[in-house]
Symmetry: C2
Subunit: 403 residues, 2 copies
């Protein structure tokens, strides 16, 4: 029945380094439809099985010709060619093109045998079945060659690349319908504490609604993970050990609450039963009472129960950790450099992530208290205040990192 103060904290940079070192990129893969693959990380090289395009095709609407037949053509001295047919996209030319002949051709249609160039329609004049060619073309001109986009055997997208609209398009080009991607790390979520009630239920005296489950689930989905909310547990060591055992089948476990110094700060005992504490307490504000541990072999975050602390730490520690596990590149949030609207003070000895709103080109302090979700919800982003800085004067240029 003794409270356990956090007597030593580690620097934020050390905490981040420890956390990142512990993140093992996921090895599990899954096969999913190509249309669902945006933002996913390819698990293996994809090699083109066919040439794209699979045939020589017209790159312009116009006339397929033998380039030599157009030599010296000009508006003043056009070459006259006989049009011997047409070929539409998706169809096969009925015949070839011989000397002094041409064939009307649509963009994307297969070149007729014999023809080796296309004269753009804008550089021709039609006169019954005769076509006046107003400009010369060279062999190959206005043709998309077979395999020019992708050649059979060529790498289309490499393993570990993140799929995006154009890469998905390149895979579709060779007829791919499903892709092997790395699985999304699963993240078990539990908001501990007898005071926590799920929205939709009624609050009894002394109770509050669960916030962290929602902020964490949203941020996990944004950064390549799959949140797995757990059912509530009674605030006892045995109940939490049971939950932890159920949670450990996931790739990451995140409990919030229970990591402060209260008499009922149970997470330390829970970890002692099942794993190994790596650190407890970070010299940051908000977010000081944070645990990082292993439960068996599963990485475990004990996030502060306070919503602003929990979400701030999720941005600063969980997101980098999760993205590394998910094999996504580091997050590159937008930043803007603006003057600070009002003087702010900062906790001595703690690296502070101070939330701000950007209003009329100035950073307005938005931080209220670690317990207040509105400290984050009414902010656009945050500025960082190093541990050794105790105040920043109004007008100082600060870098705002957008959420």
């Amino acid at each position: 029945m003794t409270m356990r103060p956090i007597t030593s904290t580690i620097a934020f940079a050390s905490a981040l380094e420890i956390v990142l070192d512990a993140a093992t990129p996921i090895a599990r893969t899954e096969t999913i439809p190509l249309v669902d693959a945006d933002g996913r990380v390819l698990a293996g090289d994809v090699i083109a099985t066919e040439d794209v395009p699979p045939f020589n095709r017209a790159a312009m609407d116009g006339y397929a010709v033998i380039a030599g037949d157009t030599a010296g053509a000009s508006a003043a001295a056009p070459r006259l060619l006989r049009c011997v047919g047409h070929v539409f996209s998706g169809h096969v030319p009925a015949r070839g093109v011989g000397a002094a002949e041409c064939m009307e051709i649509a963009t994307g249609a297969p070149m007729p045998p014999g023809a080796d160039a296309v004269v753009m329609v804008e550089e021709t004049a039609r006169d019954g079945e005769m076509v006046r060619i107003l400009t010369p073309v060279s062999a190959g001109q206005n043709i998309g060659r077979r395999g020019a986009d992708l050649t059979a055997g060529e790498l289309i997208v490499a393993a570990n690349e993140v799929l995006n609209p154009s890469r998905i398009g390149a895979l579709a080009a060779t007829g791919v319908t499903r892709v092997d991607v790395f699985a999304k790390p699963t993240v078990a979520l539990l908001s501990t504490g007898d005071e926590i009630v799920q929205p939709g239920e009624r609050l009894a005296p002394g109770q509050i609604y669960d916030i962290n489950r929602f902020t964490l689930e949203t941020i996990i989905s944004r950064h390549g993970g799959r949140a797995m909310p757990m059912p509530a547990a009674h605030d006892t060591i045995d109940a939490l050990v049971d939950r932890l055992d159920a949670a450990r089948v996931n790739d990451i476990v995140v409990f919030s609450g229970g990591s402060s110094v209260g008499e009922r700060d149970l997470l330390l005992d829970v970890i002692a039963r099942r794993g190994e504490l790596i650190f407890r307490g970070i010299a940051v504000k908000p977010g000081k009472p944070t645990i990082f541990a292993r439960a068996g072999t599963t990485p475990f975050f004990g996030m502060p129960g306070y919503p602003a602390s929990c979400l701030s730490n999720a941005y600063m520690l969980l997101v980098p950790f999760l993205r590394k596990m998910a094999r996504l590149p580091p997050w590159e949030p937008r930043t803007i450099d603006v003057p600070l609207a009002r003087r702010i003070t900062s906790a001595a000895g703690r690296h502070q992530f101070y939330t701000v709103r950007v209003v009329s080109g100035r950073a307005e302090p938005a931080f209220k208290a670690s317990g207040d979700i509105t400290s984050m919800a009414r902010a656009d982003g945050y500025i960082e205040i190093p541990a050794e800085t105790e105040a920043i004067e109004a007008g100082t240029l600060v870098r705002v990192t957008y959420f």
Copy 2:
């Protein structure tokens, strides 16, 4: 059976202005679970129905006290208070605190009647049922006041704001489980052309796989829309008019292909039957043969069939249009200023979106041809080359906009 060249084009800036003017923010709303609401646009103000927190609570672990009892306390001259119980989070204090008494309290637990401050556990020393207070506190210190985060009747998140992790958390804080959001605009998609085959089917001679359906679906999902792919249609006016009639129930219609100058350039005839052409042909590269029209009252994009042209125009025109319809703020892609690795030339008179890779801090040209999806898939972003610029020398500083 005549080909219709694009004889006049409009400037890209004009095209964008026309398109944006035609975008009507969506009015349809839907009610969805809060956990699914990240990135959605709130359809109405949400007002707090309860105070958050709903009671005065301890903001620290420690001892609830009457502030006056701690006046003058120091390590050298501690104040002695009798501990009369404890209160855990989620529970209700069994009794109040009187003069010279204190109560052990956990962060988040309701304050016992009579107590008006909390002394942090780090600033106390326990001695049986007596607690030595080593520092004075003032009334209200280390207490989270009822309603300090949100007060009943207060605006939590306003209509038209985009939900994010912290705003979702603020809504959860007051017990919200479902939210009214604006519906995502639906976008009917059809890749026209007899040559287009869906991946998974076999290519006959002269055929190619559909790429645009995949690139467009992905980009639409990223920017607040819901893609509705249509079944393939035969390349006849009647078949396409039928498809357009089916497509028009959506908020936006995007057909690709069929907008070039081929004999079978049918979209103009299709539009003539059902709506009004607004423009055809933009002075851009890639993406010149682009139609914007109304089919009845539904905005219609006729995108080029060429995959790089189609996707480039999707980024430049469809994304701004879609985001305005979806009530999302304009897209703010990341940019970087780097020297150009090699000299490039640009089509005279056309604003060019030239794709590049960023390699070792330099912009490497990535553009191959408008027909080649690899022009986009092997690029990181693009640089813009104004219509009047015909070449950019190696070493010139260029601004790369990331996709």
